[in-house]
């Protein structure tokens, strides 16, 4: 705590304006280099062989024929990636997920890999690898996996968090419970109680750039990795641990990243590429095909959720209970726990309880996907609130406002909220012209709220001033959505110079201290904080140099509007020294001028949003069309509003895709039926209207500018906003997402047949 409060009310010169991004020209001309765009002398093509079975014992892998094929330089299996994890189960899971060890745990699980001189040879070599499988019973559905009769995927999993501790393994990795108050007493007070069960299907982040890397390992253990990632420092540490490399000897460069949304926070093929390169002693480029991205990397959980809420006739919610069952794929995760933390976070409910069940199934290991776990819980809770509102005859928005969380509300996960913006977003929604716009036939409107945490984390930033006064800002947080422009703006703001005078770059892992992932909406929050402090550090040096140039005590120098000003008695007639003038003399006043900052950027704020959705439902086909959509979200402080709006719009669109059509479809054989963009249906341009946005700014007091992360919250409300709109358009309450045409038509038929 203890940041400079005055910045909260500060007048800004640069921050808050819409500047163009520094990487724009490279990206519109095709010059920008992404994961698959690097090459190295003598590089090989890497390819991965994947399991065609949902669950199978691997009896034998014969690679002899592949190894003999001319042009093949290395073939690796788990034997080439020995377990060096030393009892760290989390790391061991990552290793096993990268390469199957004796068992294939899902359709698409890597079982072997080759590196060859070209694409054709590598493809041929994969066909020559002979794997003998013994199929095992599988389970892909979260509810089925919890049954006693389900095949147990890991003998080592004994449910955590239940008493007495189980003595038999199961697919239930953990039970989590959160909340406070007495829910039974709360329900006894209620005039109306609603109980519903929901299901959501598994979705993928769907970044357009497949995973890609270029790995090169030398015989002396030095290595380089060029990779599309949300966090190259974390990738470095994980890959070094898995491969037994020294952290300082593995140089990881983050390429431009073609979308991540959480899916590029985890290593998949990178350790395999390094193992292939080590064995071949040549650089190896490993690029996934789209089908591999769907089958072999981490989507989000599919879920099954029960919600029970009770309210008085005046709209007060007296009790709320959620039971949340989330599958984490073939390895245990904390996804249901996150759901417990977020389910009721928008509201002040005196008696609330969330129970989470983290479950393993024969599907790919779940990865974070934008506000991981929150959208599904919000779908269930926000849908139930609309049902409750209808039952007590109140407008849904008024029920939400009646129970909204505020500063001082105790969050369901324990702590008391500081200043938060959920009430502001709801009031802005209520006053928005969208809420009064006329609806046509078969159209309906829905509102829903959403919450996601922000996280901070380790951050390190350098700021170097050239002799011409231009500034290099060196960052370690990967720029996923335009953050370089925001960071350059912050540096310019602090230094008091034009935006164009600052150039922001992302450093490789040998050029800067450790930085955590760009995840949890932390990029602008934490690197922004480090940039502020690095700039202030540099200003200290600039003032010293100016003092030297003038020959006055440094205490008599202040920094104003990009220049040093002498303030002490008798210095009144000294003309100010600009940053450029001080920089030009730096060689003679003590050498290069730089600022630096290492910080654990803790104290991140909370992200809240409320969305309005108008949908038109074709009652004869069940097809839903989004006709209007508005996002209202608290950004704390929008550094570059263009990119804040972009996050709002992009998140809303991903949520809309999830609400309407996106889903993993598994066959009875446990194989993924739709590993491609043709049948995994993300929204296309013609599916959508313009997405209106309103940025609210309720400052986060623990950030120098009041910034809150904005990257994730916007995916949380859409499922329920769409579901509530469909309920009002077609008169059917959808409890299974995606609310695809067949599901909506079936619901309409069911209602009609019920009379």
């Amino acid at each position: 705590m203890g940041h400079d409060q005055k910045y909260v009310d500060k007048k800004y010169e640069v921050v808050g304006e819409r500047f163009n991004r520094p990487d724009g020209i490279d990206k519109v001309t095709g010059k920008a280099r992404y994961g698959a765009d690097a090459s190295a002398p003598g590089q090989l093509v890497g390819r991965v062989l994947r399991s065609p079975h949902a669950h199978a014992q691997i009896l034998k892998i014969n690679t002899a024929k592949a190894e003999k094929l001319p042009g093949v330089k290395s073939v690796v299996t788990f034997e080439d990636m020995p377990d060096l994890t030393g009892g760290d189960q989390g790391l061991a899971d990552i290793l096993e997920n990268c390469m199957a060890r004796g068992r294939a745990l899902y359709d698409g699980h890597a079982v072997a890999a080759v590196a060859a001189v070209d694409e054709q040879t590598a493809a041929q070599a994969l066909k020559l690898i002979d794997v003998k499988y013994k199929k095992l019973p599988h389970v892909t559905d979260v509810d089925e996996a919890m049954l006693e009769s389900a095949p147990v995927i890991h003998d080592r999993i004994m449910t955590r968090g239940v008493e007495p501790a189980p003595t038999k393994p199961s697919n239930i990795a953990a039970r989590t419970q959160m909340g406070y108050g007495d829910v039974d007493a709360g329900f006894a007070e209620a005039d109306v109680i609603i109980e519903k069960t929901y299901k959501t299907e598994q979705t993928h982040q769907g970044y357009i750039e497949p995973h890609a890397c270029l790995a090169s390992v030398n015989p002396d253990g030095t290595a380089e990795l060029w990779v599309t990632t949300q966090g190259h420092f974390v990738f470095r540490n994980v890959c070094a641990s898995l491969l037994g490399l020294d952290i300082a000897k593995l140089k990881v460069t983050s390429s431009e990243i073609g979308g991540g949304f959480g899916g590029k926070t985890h290593v998949w093929g990178e350790p395999v590429a390094l193992a292939l390169s080590r064995k071949a002693n040549r650089p190896v480029k490993l690029v996934m095909g789209r089908d591999e991205v769907f089958r072999g990397t981490g989507p989000t959980s599919s879920t099954s959720i029960d919600v029970k809420m009770g309210a008085k006739k005046d709209g007060t919610i007296t009790a709320a209970v959620a039971e949340l069952r989330y599958q984490g794929g073939a390895f245990p995760g904390n996804w249901a726990m996150l759901a417990c933390m977020t389910a009721f976070a928008c509201y002040d409910i005196k008696n609330n309880k969330s129970i989470g069940w983290d479950v393993v199934v024969n599907r790919p290991k779940v990865a974070a996907y934008r506000a991981p776990s929150a959208p599904m819980a919000a779908f269930a809770v926000e849908s139930t609130i609309d049902v409750l509102a209808k039952e007590i005859g109140m407008k849904p928005i008024d029920v939400r406002l009646k129970n909204v969380a505020r500063e001082g509300t105790v969050a369901p996960y324990g702590p008391t909220y500081g200043p938060i913006g959920i009430e502001h977003t709801l009031k802005a929604v209520k006053d928005h012209p969208h809420m009064r716009a006329k609806l046509k036939k078969n159209q309906g409107r829905g509102v829903a709220c959403g919450f996601w945490f922000n996280i901070g984390g380790q951050t390190c930033t350098d700021l170097n001033i050239g002799v011409d006064g231009t500034v290099n800002l060196t960052l370690g947080t990967v720029d996923v959505g335009g953050s370089r422009s925001s960071m350059a703006m912050i540096a310019a703001e602090e230094l008091g110079i034009p935006y164009e005078q600052v150039r922001a770059n992302i450093a490789d892992t040998t050029s800067l201290g450790h930085n955590d992932m760009t995840e949890g909406s932390r990029g602008t929050f934490s690197s922004g904080m480090a940039t502020v402090f690095a700039a202030r550090d540099a200003i200290g040096v600039l003032k010293e140099r100016a003092a030297k140039m003038w020959g006055v005590p440094v205490d008599d120098v202040v920094w104003e509007n990009g220049q040093a000003v002498a303030t002490g008695k008798g210095h009144g007639n000294l003309p100010p020294l600009s940053l450029k003038e001080i920089a030009a003399k730096s060689g003679r006043t003590g050498g290069p001028i730089a600022g630096h900052n290492e910080v654990v950027a803790d104290g991140a704020g909370m992200g809240f949003a409320s969305h309005i959705c108008d949908v038109e439902v074709d009652p004869e086909t069940g097809r839903s069309t989004i006709v209007r959509y508005t996002v209202v979200q608290d950004a704390g402080k929008a550094i570059n509003p263009d990119y804040v709006e972009g996050q709002f719009q992009g998140g809303a669109t991903q949520g809309i895709g999830w609400a309407l059509n996106e889903e993993y479809i598994y066959g009875d054989d446990g194989r993924l039926q739709n590993p491609g963009f043709l049948d995994y249906r993300i929204p296309v341009c013609s599916d959508l209207p313009f997405i209106d946005t309103t940025i609210l700014e309720v400052p986060n007091p623990l950030h120098p500018y009041g910034v809150r992360g904005v990257g994730e919250t916007s995916i949380v409300p859409p499922l329920a906003a769409v579901g509530n709109a469909i309920a009002n358009a077609a008169g059917v309450r959808m409890t299974h997402a995606p609310m695809s045409p067949p599901r909506v038509l079936a619901a309409i038929d069911e209602r009609d047949n019920a009379g």
Binding site: G289, D291, R623, N674, L678, D679, V684, D687, P742, L745
Partner: protein, 286 residues
């Protein structure tokens, strides 16, 4: 893989018939290259017909239209006379994929791929289209509805190549339409497709052809649906009968794109809507 660019359909047929390995014809390539990428085919020979003179042209004559086997969807979409004569066929051709796919995809390719969900096939059948098939020895003309035998299977024998699709000159007071259902607005494969062609006499349906796609192993000509419309002015009773006939004619599968119930139900819904588009095109007053 060898790659050949013959100068005539006959030469193409000769190359294909002589090939002992796996041979494939390449026109727009929108299906073949996907199969190549996914490792579903491993050709020894690919015969690219796009260098054959005039194979990328639409010829108009007194009898109707001859659409070369390499004419892309975007060329079809810009052909004013064809659009005026057979708007339903043009709509169907233009529904195949994005603008990018339209730059390559062809009617002949859509037919030869023999997918049950092909958009242009029901529309071509409803319009009475024929395929001009060139073999190493002889040429034959086959009605489009006889070309596809099952999923991925056609009546083409080894060495045979579709050189062109012909469409008759429409009779007076004829109108056609094609509608399909997809979950998104673009970029999907039809869950159900319905093509309807109507000929009117004094405002009443005299002749009709109703064809469904994506609800059976091949496109289905629904005679009962046509019968429901003949003699009507497209009143509600006739439309209901049409819908019932179409639903009854469905023999679909459950798959990732749709369920049996859904396809069956929506076939009837779309049939009504397609009829209502075709009717005014034939000069009828709704």
């Amino acid at each position: 893989m060898r790659y050949a660019t013959p100068a005539s359909a006959k030469e193409a047929a000769g190359l294909l018939s002589k090939e002992t390995g796996a041979a494939f014809l390449l026109a727009g390539g929108t299906d073949l290259l996907v199969k190549l990428k996914m490792g579903m085919v491993e050709p020894d020979l690919v015969v690219d017909i796009k260098r054959i003179p005039k194979i990328d042209e639409i010829q108009t004559s007194a009898k109707g239209f001859t659409i070369g086997a390499a004419v892309s969807g975007s060329v079809i979409g810009e052909h004013k006379a064809l659009k005026a004569a057979w708007p339903g066929v043009v709509e169907a051709a233009n529904l195949i994929g994005s603008d990018q796919i339209q730059g390559r995809a062809t009617l002949a390719g859509n037919l030869c791929n023999a997918s049950p969900a092909a958009d242009s096939v029901p529309a071509m059948i409803a319009a009475g289209a024929k395929a001009v098939i060139v073999g190493p020895q002889k040429k034959r003309t086959v009605a489009v509805e006889k070309v596809v035998l099952g999923p991925g299977q056609t009546c083409l024998t080894k060495g045979e190549v579709i050189e062109a699709i012909t469409l008759p000159k429409p009779e007076p007071r004829t109108g056609d339409a094609y509608l399909r259902f997809i979950p998104r607005t673009e970029m999907d494969i039809a869950v159900v497709g319905v093509a309807i062609s109507l000929k009117l006499e004094r405002g009443v349906v005299k002749k009709a052809k109703v064809v469904l796609g994506a609800v059976a192993p091949t496109a289905v000509v629904v005679a009962a649906g046509a019968k429901a419309l003949v003699g009507s002015k497209l009143d509600d009773a006739a439309l209901d009968k049409l819908a019932a006939a179409c639903s009854a004619a469905c023999n679909p599968i459950n798959d990732k794109r749709g369920t049996v119930e859904y396809r069956t139900r929506v076939a009837g819904v779309l049939a009504k809507r397609a009829a209502k588009i075709a009717f005014p095109r034939a000069g009828g007053a709704l």
